[in-house]
């Protein structure tokens, strides 16, 4: 029954989100932004979840775990398929350094100050509190380049600048995934070595499935058959990860990257086909993510302003640093940090993965903060992006009247 309920909710939301009235920024700007980015589904999931109105119970969410695992697997495989090793090798070092600078600054700016409150309010061992702070930092480090892409597509931003921002935001995904590896190593098992073993198992599983899928798809001509094999493969890798209680996201990324590395033209064709499922799978995933929010956790609400403020400052400073490093290589716009405020779905994937694999009050609090933060950052991001588009104030010329 719960599946039917979710399906009906998603269907109703899909209709709502495609309505011209809702999408008209002139009428309800905030709702229009949330609908366009899909985060409306996140908000509705939150409202319908057991932590708010309780339309869906915790039992329903447990029964929907296979769908959540599949959504994380699809997200992982799509990220992996977009990791093109040949292109990544061509990028100059400054680009990597700039991505690391903006992501790293936001990471440190959030993780270090919030470690203290987490340590003193939860009464948990320092390692666990530090792990939670690290995950908050990881989520904070991630940005979405969709405003930049929309900006250059609509002609409001120079194409080169838009692509440069999008490139930096894509590379920060690697930072986020790297931190997830660390957080799972420390949190997913009793001993860090065991945790590391589980992460290795997830990656190995992903690579094995990716290699096998490439072999299965080799020589298949029929497009429908190719898609069926790819979808089956995605379900297999997500399902095996969920069954073994390792990260479906990391297994998916490893699977997608292996597919790109060893697969041929068939994989490219099928990957394009998989793009058709990207949006529905994403919307379903973030609806379920929203349903896991505990809106009544006061401590999460207390932490939220700190998280948002620190991230904002971290992004602005990190953006300035990134521009200093790669300003000569990439066409980065002035006030780059303001273009990095919006957050994409990967931050949500990271924290929901952590919540599923390391369940407990700490991971729930981190999750709540990041989900609420993603919603607010999306709304803030559109306003902040206007500063990127506005012409930079010219430096005063010596001798001119002030």
């Amino acid at each position: 029954m719960q599946a039917l309920l979710v399906f009906l909710a998603i269907a109703a939301l899909s209709l709502l989100a495609s309505s011209r009235t809702v999408l008209d920024p002139g009428r309800f700007p905030a709702v229009a932004h949330l609908a366009a980015s899909g985060l409306l589904f996140l908000a509705c999931g939150t409202v319908m979840g057991p932590g708010s109105l309780g339309v869906l119970s915790w039992g329903d969410l447990t029964a929907l775990r296979p769908v959540l695992a599949l959504g994380l697997g699809v997200a992982g495989v799509i990220i992996g398929l977009n990791l093109e090793p040949r292109l990544l090798r061509l990028l100059p070092r400054e680009v990597y350094a700039a991505a690391l600078a903006h992501a790293g600054t936001a990471f440190l700016w959030v993780a270090l100050p919030l470690a203290g409150p987490l340590l003193f309010t939860m009464g948990l061992p320092p390692g666990a509190a530090l792990g939670a702070a690290v995950l908050l930092g990881a989520a904070a480090s991630l940005s979405s380049g969709h405003f930049a892409v929309l900006g250059y597509r609509s002609g409001r931003m120079e194409r080169r600048s838009g692509l440069s921002v999008a490139l930096l935001t894509m590379l920060d995904d690697l930072v986020g995934l790297g931190v997830l590896v660390l957080a799972l190593s420390f949190g997913a098992a009793g001993h860090p070595l065991e945790g590391l073993g589980l992460v290795a198992l997830a990656l190995l599983l992903g690579m094995a499935c990716g290699g096998l899928l490439a072999f299965l798809m080799h020589g298949l001509k029929d497009q429908g058959e190719l898609m069926a094999v790819l979808l089956g493969g995605v379900a297999l890798v997500s399902g095996a990860a969920a069954y073994l209680r390792v990260s479906a996201l990391l297994a998916g990324v490893a699977c997608g990257a292996t597919l790109v590395l060893v697969g041929g033209r068939a994989v490219e064709q099928a990957a394009r086909g998989l793009g058709r499922f990207e949006r529905p799978a994403y919307l379903l995933l973030i609806f379920l993510v929203g349903a896991h929010v505990q809106a009544r956790d006061l401590m999460a609400w207390v932490l939220l302003p700190g998280y948002l403020g620190l991230r904002f400052v971290g992004k602005v400073l990190g953006g300035a640093l990134a521009q200093r490093i790669a300003g000569g290589t990439l066409a980065l716009p002035p006030r780059l940090g303001y273009a990095l405020i919006a957050q994409g779905g990967l931050a949500l994937c990271l924290v929901v993965e952590y919540l599923v694999l390391v369940p407990g009050p700490l991971s729930q609090r981190v999750f709540d903060v990041v989900v609420a933060g993603a919603l607010i950052n999306e709304l803030l991001g559109s306003r902040a992006f206007r500063y990127v588009l506005a012409p930079a104030p010219e430096a005063p010329v010596k001798g001119s009247p002030t």
Binding site: L8, A69, V234, A235
Partner: protein, 433 residues
């Protein structure tokens, strides 16, 4: 080509073995439903290719690989995972029924409707009588019947026989889709198995009422008629509403038809079960109404489902295979085998003797298409188990064992019937693996 598909299947099975091995090192395991879905889909796709290469229907490949990797043989896919795929099974059943409905044109029903209904009644009647007689004769060998009084034993035998007479529209439609069979013989066969399902629905409800009365539960005639009426007419009514909704969508939106059909089939499967309606009948009615109101839209549905059909059928039948309880064969195997043989002879005799004259193929080959049993029969067996907790579970084991045997040979015979009728348009040569 078959060797290449076999190699791929072997690698897949090895990967599943590795995953099952890795699971043994983990103290706690998570949900296995997604794993079951992915593994059965992939194994089914390649087993279907191997089956085609060996001259068998794809369906047999799907079923056999499901049996092999499922919880009752190699155990690479946990039982909980297979059970969690009920939702997918419901979806597939609805899709299959929808596409079958689009074949039910008014002209066809006018042409063969009466002949089909008469033959169906005769085949079901003969099979029912033979099955009741056999069950009653085996009273001493069946522990659950041995202690019953004669009226009770007769009532329970009738209950079992009402399930034994059922056919499998899903298997028939899937084999017809796979072989692209077209013609009067195929139409007759499809119409017969669909009408047979309606007969079984009524017969089963009556048999349950009689069995309940024989054990002192009283005969609630009004409830019985109301229940059957709601299931039959309610399903048709809801199906008609669905058809209108689908036609509006197809004419107004005209986008993403396969996704829309999957969504609506999924919703109707879930809602139908909750409302005690028959999803099969609902979607059948919806498909038939669309095809008769707007032939062009009916053809669009047919085409759209064919595009989405391969993975859906592979997953549905591989999951059905994985759910076949092989242990039931061990416990009641000989009796189940005897009952299956008697059922086959009864169906063969009824077709041979009573098939309408004019088309010799009906009397010679039609029986082969009526051997399969699948989803509906499993559902009814489970219902007996729940309704009669004293003897129901033992009856379920017997029926499941019979369905298992019929399921394994049924698709092969259905394909053979279509081949011999000469209505398979493009014989499926082994495709590239």
């Amino acid at each position: 080509m078959t060797v290449r598909a076999g190699m791929r299947l072997l690698l897949l099975v090895l990967l599943l073995a590795g995953i099952a091995r890795a699971q043994m090192w983990r103290v706690d395991t998570g949900t296995s439903v997604t794993l079951a879905a992915g593994a059965l889909l992939l194994c089914g796709l390649f087993a279907g290719k191997v089956a085609i290469g060996l001259g068998l229907p794809r369906l047999t490949g799907y079923l056999l690989v499901g049996v092999a990797v499922g919880p009752y043989a190699l155990g690479f896919i946990p039982g909980a995972g297979v059970k969690g795929l009920e939702l997918v099974k419901g979806l597939a059943l609805s899709l299959i029924a929808l596409v079958a409905g689009t074949e039910l044109h008014l002209g066809l029903l006018r042409r063969v409707g009466t002949k089909v209904a008469v033959l169906c009644a005769v085949v079901c009647g003969v099979t029912f009588v033979v099955s009741v007689g056999a069950m009653f004769a085996l009273k001493g060998w069946l522990p659950f019947l041995a202690t019953m009084t004669v009226p009770q034993a007769l009532a329970v035998s009738a209950l079992v026989a009402s399930v034994v007479v059922s056919f499998s529209p899903t298997v028939t439609i899937a084999v017809v889709q796979e072989t692209h069979a077209r013609g009067t013989f195929t139409e007759f066969l499809m119409a017969l198995v669909i009408i047979g399902d309606l007969f079984v629905m009524v017969a089963f409800a009556l048999a349950v009422g009689v069995a309940r009365a024989s054990f002192g539960g009283g005969l609630d005639l009004a409830g019985l008629v109301g229940g059957v009426g709601w299931e039959l007419f309610g399903s048709v009514l809801v199906g008609a509403l669905l058809a209108v909704g689908m036609l509006v969508y197809m004419r107004q939106v005209q986008k993403e038809l396969p996704l829309f059909l999957v969504a609506i089939s999924f919703a109707s499967a879930e809602a139908g079960t909750r409302l005690h309606l028959s999803p099969l009948l609902m979607m059948l009615a919806a498909g038939a109404l669309i095809a008769n109101l707007d032939e062009r839209e009916g053809a669009r549905i047919h085409h759209a489902i064919q595009r989405a059909g391969l993975p859906v059928f592979a997953l549905f039948f591989a999951a059905a295979g994985a759910g076949l309880k092989l242990d039931a064969l061990v416990t009641v195997g000989p009796i189940a085998l005897l009952m299956v043989a008697l059922r086959t002879v009864a169906v063969w005799f009824a077709c041979r003797r009573f098939a309408p004259p004019g088309d010799e193929r009906l009397s010679r080959y039609l029986w082969m298409g009526l051997i399969s049993q699948a989803g509906v029969s499993f559902g009814l067996a489970a219902l007996i188990s729940r309704t009669f907790p004293d003897f129901g579970p033992q009856v379920e084991v017997l029926i499941v064992a019979m369905i298992t045997l019929n399921q394994l040979v049924g698709p092969i015979l259905t394909r053979r019937a279509l081949e011999r009728s000469g209505e398979i348009r493009s014989d499926e040569a082994p495709g590239p693996a």
